[in-house]
């Protein structure tokens, strides 16, 4: 189960598991954001390639309009996935302690 909360500043907070069964609702949330968007991933336990696809699509759309996603609170396992997929080169990512 994945929950996505939208903050008053337009930021997103992801919590739970971003697997293939959660793509449709997640896509809707990411389609609605604009500008530079902080995405709090501190509650995100798991992400699969389906979830990565949603993030990639959003990043391409936002950067095309001068914005971007900024991913914060990324746990170690998900950070490894970002490194193996090259996402650490195309996303701004911060770990739980704010380290990049």
């Amino acid at each position: 189960m994945l929950t996505i909360d939208t903050g008053p500043d337009g930021s997103l907070r992801l919590a739970g598991r971003f697997d293939a069964s959660q793509v449709a609702p997640a896509q809707g949330a990411f389609d609605r954001v604009a500008g530079t968007v902080r995405v709090d991933c501190s509650g995100l336990e798991y992400i699969s390639s389906a979830g990565l696809g949603v993030l990639l699509k959003a990043q391409k759309r936002l950067t095309g309009a001068g914005g971007k996603l900024r991913l914060t609170g990324v746990n170690r396992h998900i950070r490894d996935i970002f490194v193996y997929s090259g996402f650490d080169q195309i996303f701004e990512i911060e770990g739980p302690g704010g380290d990049r």
């Binding site: 798991y46 389906a50 696809g53 949603v54 997929s85 090259g86």
Partner: protein, 138 residues
């Protein structure tokens, strides 16, 4: 210790698969990732009329080995799929193609077997259990 179970061929089976793969009360992200990516590939490319996918799990103190079995399918060897182009700049990246690329990096081994007579695909992977940190020397 070995166990096996059939799962319906739909995305909604993922949560039950993850629960089935939990070992000693622990869920291993690499195991779940590999199961999801291999299973969703089976949904995309397998026979839509086939009833279920079977999962066998073999546990040892050091590792967990998972086999996904799909029947009435054409052969497709995930160990031979090309790596994704992960060095491309953002605007040239396309969604898709990362599942097998990442699976091969997260698991310790990945093997494929196709039984032509029964049109059965068997994909087996192994993940070593994380070891507890060593106690500090005095």
């Amino acid at each position: 210790m070995k166990r096996g179970r059939a799962f319906a061929r739909r995305l909604e089976s993922l949560q039950a698969m993850f629960g089935f793969a939990a070992t000693r009360g622990e869920r291993l992200p690499a195991v779940e990732f590999a199961i999801e990516e291999l299973f969703t590939n089976m949904l995309k490319y397998g026979h839509p009329g086939a009833a279920h996918v079977w999962i066998d799990i073999h546990e040892t103190p050091e590792s967990i080995e998972v086999t996904l079995i799909d029947r009435d399918v054409q052969p497709f060897d995930p160990t031979q799929a090309a790596d994704a182009a992960v060095d491309l700049p953002l605007q040239q990246r396309e969604p898709g193609g990362l599942g097998l690329h990442l699976t091969r990096r997260l698991v310790d081994s990945l093997q494929y077997e196709y039984l032509g007579a029964s049109r059965e695909s068997r994909i087996r992977f192994r993940v070593t259990r994380p070891q507890p940190p060593a106690a500090s020397e005095p």
